[in-house]
Amino acid sequence: MPETVVFYAFAALAIGASALVIGQRNPMYSVLLLIASFGALSGLYIQLDAPFVAVAQIIIYAGAIMVLFLFVVMLLNAPREDAAEWDRSHPLAHPGIGRFGALLATLLIVQLVWALAKVTELNTPVASRSDAATVGSVLEMGRVLFTRHTFAFEATSVLILVAMVGAVVLARREVSEQ
């Protein structure tokens, strides 16, 4: 079944790339691997009949936000040679604590997979029984966004304005007033 193969390929790529993101000491490799992870997630969105979200994921996340990260990594010329020293001085670097944490994390993953594998109520999508066309429709989505969710949409513009002002104020270099 090609659908299943594609799903597992994208899921494995997303999880593998994300795991490598936090396994790298060099932030440059981390950013590039995260772009690969976002690409795989956008493939999953296409499988979920959300083409507009998939394209926005590529354009906004992989295109805009990750370029911003790359820009800052290059601008700061981030020191990576002392990263190993930082890891040794980590407050959780004690081996006993590390093993206990690894045990707890494994238990959490096992518990999550066990609990989520029992979710069977929605295994066949509701939309495929009634009107399958509306879920993937960009036209319908724009209509809902600008009618039912207008207030949230307008509030988002205020959020972006605040973020813009905040970024300018925080990153500004202090100039001596004279």
């Binding site: 959300a50 996340y61 981030a78 999550l112 997979v113 509701v126 605040v162 973020a163």
Partner: protein, 100 residues
């Protein structure tokens, strides 16, 4: 059709990876990247539930999460630049005092 639980498991694993990154990494930029991983895991849950419940609200809220992620990245990176200017370091353990 792939069962809904498969998407939820992928999302849970991604979220766990992001959480582990926040706790384990000693680099402010990697910590911000881990937060992005967590936000994306939540996005996947929203879209999957929206698809299987047959309405568009999951996709709509994904856009708002993306907007919040963009705002968070802008402010967070501005903070990283300001902190790096003060201490010439990206190690979060060097920023333990509130006033210097």
């Amino acid at each position: 059709m792939i069962p809904l639980s498969h998407y939820l498991i992928v999302s849970a694993v991604l979220f766990a990876i992001g959480t582990a990154g926040v706790f384990l990494r000693r680099n402010l930029i990697t910590i911000l990247l881990s937060i992005e991983i967590m936000l994306n895991a939540v996005n996947l849950t929203f879209v999957a539930f929206g698809r299987y419940a047959g309405n568009l609200d999951g996709q709509i809220i994904t856009f708002f999460v993306m907007t919040v992620a963009a705002a968070e990245a802008a402010v967070g990176l501005a903070l990283v630049i300001a902190l790096f200017r003060h201490r010439e370091s990206l190690n979060p353990d060097t920023f333990t005092s509130l006033k210097w």
